[in-house]
Symmetry: C2
Subunit: 180 residues, 2 copies
């Protein structure tokens, strides 16, 4: 069960709300971890019960009040001891590739369409990473150092997105375009 440790790691870098974490899951670390908002809120509640995180409730004008979470010393200990353990193997579910796998049952036009669609999504992700990268590169040295390893994980994400784009192009060259 390492979603708890994923949250601890994210909050260890920067404190934040559940909503905040959710967007980080969707954007910056989307290529290696996914989680829904429901799950994030639930895990935060359970982490708080265990004493690994704590929060301040902040009221806001014109917006619902929010809970800003941070890691407690006990939470940091837990994270550190988790870091000493061997990692669990990766788990992935990529429905799009099941589609390609069984793509003989689709028309060439449909296959092409799906690949184009998927490629556009990866392009978007890569663009988002590139924006984040620019933000990181323009930080003052001290801040930049803090994000060094998170940035490293994003560099892998960028390489993977690039692999997807290359693959998509090769696939589209490979599948003849049908004419009426």
């Amino acid at each position: 069960m390492s979603i708890k440790h994923a949250i601890l790691a994210l909050l260890d870098i920067d404190q934040g709300t559940g909503y905040d974490l959710m967007t980080r899951f969707n954007n910056s670390i989307g290529s290696f971890w996914s989680a829904s908002h429901q799950q994030v809120y639930k895990e935060l509640a359970s982490l708080a019960t265990e004493g690994w995180v704590e929060f301040d409730e902040v009221e806001q004008a014109g917006k619902p009040s929010k809970k800003i979470y941070r890691v407690t010393p006990a939470g940091l200990d837990e994270l550190k001891s988790w870091l000493q353990k061997p990692v669990k193997p990766l788990k992935v579910k990529y429905p799009f590739l099941i589609k390609i796998f069984a793509g003989d049952h689709l028309s060439k036009a449909q296959l092409r369409q799906d690949i184009i669609q998927n490629s556009a999504e990866h392009r978007e992700t890569l663009d988002a990473y590139t924006k984040l990268e620019q933000w990181i590169l323009h930080l003052p040295e001290k801040e930049k150092k803090k994000y060094h390893l998170p940035y490293a994980t994003m560099k892998l994400g960028m390489k993977v997105e690039q692999a997807w784009l290359e693959w998509s192009e090769e696939m589209l060259n490979d599948i003849p375009q049908e004419r009426e």
Copy 2:
């Protein structure tokens, strides 16, 4: 719920036992779908109840008897109609990258060690894909055609594994080696 469709797609290419499917999940399509043997057997039972797959029980000398599953016409219809629907987004869980993300709490030696270990695993996966690729490339034309799209998904897997290896090297160059 697309593990059912993943199984249908795999059985549609080649019939096989639960054990068989499990090894395919671990080897050829491991980089985009993972499943445990328990889950595979459970799903096969439920697919059989729904009438989407059927099997012959084959007794073997000196080995437990096995059930060879294949897709039924109803199962193929289900697969085809699933293919028409938009795919669900990918889901990934990569505990190793959480470790890197929070890697400031590890020594440089430990970080390097983890990266080396992880890189070795990706090297192994890439080698397994390369072997499979050789097998595919030496098939007679007719058979080769059948595996065209499954092979395409593996090509993406190879690109992704290569991205991991490149990244690992860059990381190791980036993290100074400590001396006693």
